[in-house]
Structure formats: C-alpha cells, structure tokens
Symmetry: C2
C-alpha cells in the first residue's frame, strides 16, 4: 500500500508539447519530499529484486530519479545521453517517440558484457522501471519480452 497516492502528484497539461498530446508533469511529485522518497523507494524495491549491476537513465527526465534509484538499489548509474553530449567513444541507438524520433548514446565501455541493467525513465518508452505508464500507447506489449514495472498507469 502506498502512503501517498502518487497519481495525485502528477499534473496533467493538455496540448503540450504539441496539440493533441496530453503531458504528464512529474514536477509536483519531485517538489514533495515524501512523494519523491516514496517513488524512489518503490522503484528501488523492484530493482533490488532484479539484482542489477547498473541503472540506466535516459536524458533528460530519466536522469532525475535514475541515480537516486541506483543509490537505493546498491548499484551504479549509467546515463544515456542525446547525440554529441558524451565524449568519445560512444555507441548509439535511434528509437520512435509518441511525437517524433530520437537517438541516445552510451559510453562504449560503460556496460560490461553480461551486465544486468535496469532501464529507468519517467514515462514508459522502452521497457524497465518507470514513474508513469501510458497504457493506450501499447508500450507494455512492445517490450513484453522484458520484465517491467511502472508506478502509475494511465
């Protein structure tokens, strides 16, 4: 049972960043220490059971809770960054978004062969542990071969 209804800490913003898109703003959750701590604890509890070597967080909103989850889980954190932000050598991947596409880069030597990695982002996009899941976008089905957890589902 949650002490706080974390859904009550998500602000809904219509037509942002583009018309027709409903934006879920996690700022109220971040501003409230009890809600922030509860979100980090719940995501970390799920991660601990998977015994990961690293938490991977995607730029930029996946950075916010990613390192906090790594601290609580007892593992390291690896940032996946926008193109050109990390010094060489890097590896990259391109993926589709609800509105457009994007690329992310990793330091080429950041993740050892065979390492166990939990992927964290604020909103479900590619599998891992999330604050928010937008179930109408079908992300859960697209990553059904992976273990997945989200705090709040719409």
């Amino acid at each position: 049972m949650s002490a706080i209804d974390l859904r009550s800490k998500i602000r809904e913003v219509p037509d942002f960043p583009t018309p027709g898109v409903g934006f879920k703003d996690i700022t109220p959750l971040l501003l409230d220490h009890d809600a922030l701590h509860q979100a980090v604890t719940e995501l970390s509890d799920w991660s601990k059971e998977r015994n990961p070597d690293l938490i991977l967080g995607a730029e930029a909103r996946g950075f916010i809770l990613g390192a906090a989850i790594a601290c609580h889980t007892g593992c390291g954190f690896v940032p996946a960054r926008r193109p050109g932000k990390l010094p060489p050598e890097t590896v990259s991947a391109t993926y589709m978004l609800e509105y457009g596409e994007n690329s992310l880069e990793l330091n080429a030597d950041a993740i050892a062969d065979g390492a166990r990695v939990v992927i964290h982002d604020d909103v479900l996009a590619a599998g891992g542990c999330f604050v928010i899941e937008l179930s109408f976008l079908g992300g859960r089905e697209r990553v059904s071969q992976y273990d997945m957890y989200s705090l709040i589902r719409y």
Copy 2:
C-alpha cells in the same frame, strides 16, 4: 576523510566538446556505486546543514545527482530545464558558459516566496553544491556572496 578519492573517478577528456576545452567526465564516478553513494552523501551532508526546502538541479547533468541529494537531504527537487521543455507557466534566465551561453526555465510556481534552495550542478557555474569545481574559471569569486561547496577542485 573520504573512503574513496573521488578525483580518481573523473575521466579527463581533452578538446571536448570544442578544441581547447578540457572535459571532466563524471561517468566513472556514476558507474561505481561506492563512489556514487559517497558523492551523494557528502553533498547531502553539506545541504542538510543549510536546511533547504528544495534542491534545484540544472538540465541535464545537474539532474543526475540532484534528486538523490534531495532524497538524502529530506527535501524536494526542482528541475531547471532547457527552453521549451517545461509546460507553461515558466520563468527563465540566461547565463554565460565557458563555451557559449544558455537559458534555463523553472515552473513559475515551483519555488514559494522565501523558500531556501540549494542549487546543484556537476560543475561549478553559478553557486551551490557541486561535484567538480574548475577554479581557473573563477566561478567561486563570481558567487562569493553565496555559501558554496564542491567535492573536487581543479
């Protein structure tokens, strides 16, 4: 005394992102849980003594440790974002960088009147608590009216 010499966890990258700039890569510190936990603990210990209402982290690298510091300090986190990323209403400020200039935006109602805010970033730019200070850039002198702390000084 530090259990780990955090400086040994910073990778030096010459001529990145532009020729003549020496980049301090914090990725090795983040990848190593003990170093990550020590950095968050030391920055949080400093923050706790200031009794802040919020930790402010600047996009994108200031997001990585910012929310973890807020969790440990016992306060909330407020993200300062690049223009256009936050839904309205926002307030913004423009500032000079070592290489260029930049703007950051905040939710207009995120910080209450009279709130005590610790500003965190990975590298000293504008005063607060930092992982790395580049003392040859004179940042400490420019923010001498503020209380300031950095883990590693070059």
